[in-house]
Amino acid sequence: MERAHQYALSGYLIALADDELVLGHRDSEWTGHAPILEEDIAFANLALDEIGHAKLWYELAADLLGEDKTTYPDRLVYFRDAAQFRNLQLVELPKGDWAYSTLRQYLFDAFEALRLEALSQSSYTPLADVAARIRTEELYHLRHSQAWVLRLGLGTQESGGRMQAALDALWPYAQALAAPLPGERDLHAAGIVPSSADLFERWSGEVTQFLAKSGLQANLQSPVSDFDRRTHSPHLPALIEDLQSVARLDPEATW
């Protein structure tokens, strides 16, 4: 791979990893607080999976940059400032109620399933291999979140109402999934990564159909949030501070 592509791809992967890390952290906040024991375990599993996926992407970025992949992920996670994170605002918003977290997980999982399917066809084999491995787990995540969206959407007046409120709140943020990731244009031209805009079109069709089946209506005229992954809400610095507090107490400590 050309040097310019290597550099671009590392930035692309770090953005993907940041999405997984931040969403995984939000999922982990349900540990001990989920409405029932089984879902508490399920959400803890989701959190572990997402953070595990982040690690795989950070390691691949380390390889591309010639960094030590045993230490590079920790450096990125624990010693970057919030402003340097490249995740979507969609994943950094506070966990909200159970409907909100479940719906966000669904919107994200559905997009991930499409992106991973495309990445597993990448011309860069190490990327294709990792994508195929992550995809296996994401298919399970999607099945889990779809099952809940359907049941809560069609459940009681209260569950349906909460889901619709969550959708109204999250839909503008989800539009940012259409925006290209860092370095995407060149990488897409080289057949290394898919176009986010193309994936978004498929996602949008699939998701609005499934939401309608679940009794939920996406407001297609809703305003669109800021697309830029450099712009964050005030919720991200608070999350990052929480995430990094222990590691920063003693940066030299070994674990």
Partner: protein, 182 residues
Amino acid sequence: MDTQWPRFMVFQQEGPDQPVVHNGTVHAPDAELAMLNARDVFVRRPEAVALWVVPADAIFTQTQEELAQAAETQLAAGPLASYYVFGKFSQQAQCRQVGQVQASSPLAAVHAAIATFADKQPLWWWVFPASAVLKNESTEAEPMFSAARYKTFKDQAEYPVVTMMRALRNQKANHKDTENTK
């Protein structure tokens, strides 16, 4: 008011040549969510090749004592259905699959099992209609079961916390001793 969801029994097969065994219970509003809950609760660590969930109230059980005490039972004739037969062979053992019989009622299925599997003497028979079982689809086996195969995890024992704390305490105690003798 009982707001608890219905119970489902979870059965799991660890390898292609292994019997299906009862592994535990989950609560869920329906069979599909019971299947997902069973996956998250039971098969993330140990390997599995198949997972079944069965509504707890679809399972008919008979202990040896119950069978011995029962008066001569007149079994009503009815349409035959397929039943799975499980048996618990010791207090500690998990209930495991014995086989399958055709019978017209759950009780008839137990009697058919006793006749068919004469060499098996479980302490406790479990039977349930095959139609009450939700099994994982083989196409979804990979997403459901692969996590246990390649996901690395650290056992609690791998964190030497206890040893480290003991060393720290000793260090502190020694330090105090040295201070005192000064």
